[in-house]
Symmetry: C2
DNA sequence: CAAATTTATATCGTTCACGATGCAAAAGTA
DNA sequence: TACTTTTGCATCGTGAACGATATAAATTTG
């Protein structure tokens, strides 16, 4: 049993990695209709809650690096979802704001979370159990932020 | 409250996505010492449990597509961790086997899971709570496999 | 057995994710 | 005020992830 810990079956991270990918897969049909990807959907969630934010704020809320978010925003700008303007007080900043198209997409996206819940319930007969993981996941995320590499 | 469901705070998938990325980040310092990435580590876990498997079996165990795993294996072959030989009964198959270097790495990787557990415990004062998520994650993953897009 | 279909893997193009690095503007310091 | 450091964002290179497509070998069918 010397290598027992190295079995895939014993690994939490592998579950998170897999569950995250498959969940994003489940979003795919809905996001395809809107012509956006899951990370782009996340950016929209952030902007729908509060429009006109600098790149840094968006990256921080998504726990991503700015060098991931910048090209993401460039693609979204090319797709006509957002526009990026120079900051006024701090000209280093790029303020990201929603276009008309980006604002209107909220209405079409409104039902996605419920669609997904329904699908999960229909397939697994469960929902409560998964929602109950949220506080644990938040605690884990909060802890992982203070890991050597994630600081 | 019309858009309440579209808040980042209410999204399970966002937690999974973030937790998975940050957990992989926590593995980073350990895997760097071995010169491998997290997905490469997963492939090694699979091969350490059973050497000499076709690409398809590896992909299936990791819930990945073969067009993700093939380039991954090519990089691992270039790094001298595995070799890929033509299958004998079925010549379409590529049998992936560990090299000496790949076999020996198991010894160096042996303590990684415990190192990570210790780190999590030290930071969050918790471990049980996260381990308790595993059955729920497995149930979720099993369900998600039967989603339209993940079939 | 020959033709059609399926299967195993590979290749290509696009989008993330992120380390390393660069650059200009802002902030701090002498 | 001149100089140094920090900050905000961008660019580049590498490694995933995956859809679409290609190709050859196996399997099924007629």
């Amino acid at each position: 049993m010397e290598y027992e810990q190295l079995k895939l079956d014993n690994q939490l991270c592998f579950r998170l990695y897999t569950a995250a990918r498959l969940t994003m897969g489940a979003y795919h049909p809905y996001l395809d209709l809107l012509g956006i990807t899951y990370p782009q959907y996340l950016v929209l969630l952030v902007l729908w809650e509060q429009d006109k934010q600098p790149v840094n704020d968006i990256a921080h809320k998504l726990f991503l690096e700015t060098n991931t978010v910048t090209p993401l925003l460039q693609r979204m700008e090319k797709a006509g979802l957002v526009k990026r303007t120079k900051g006024k007080e701090d000209t280093r900043q790029r303020i990201v704001s929603l276009t008309k198209k980006g604002i209107e997409m909220r209405e079409q996206a409104k039902h996605i979370p419920d669609c997904l819940s329904d699908e999960i319930i229909q397939i697994t007969g469960e929902e409560e159990e998964f929602v109950r993981m949220i506080p644990s996941l938040d605690k884990l995320i909060e802890g992982l932020k203070h890991t050597t590499h994630n600081k």
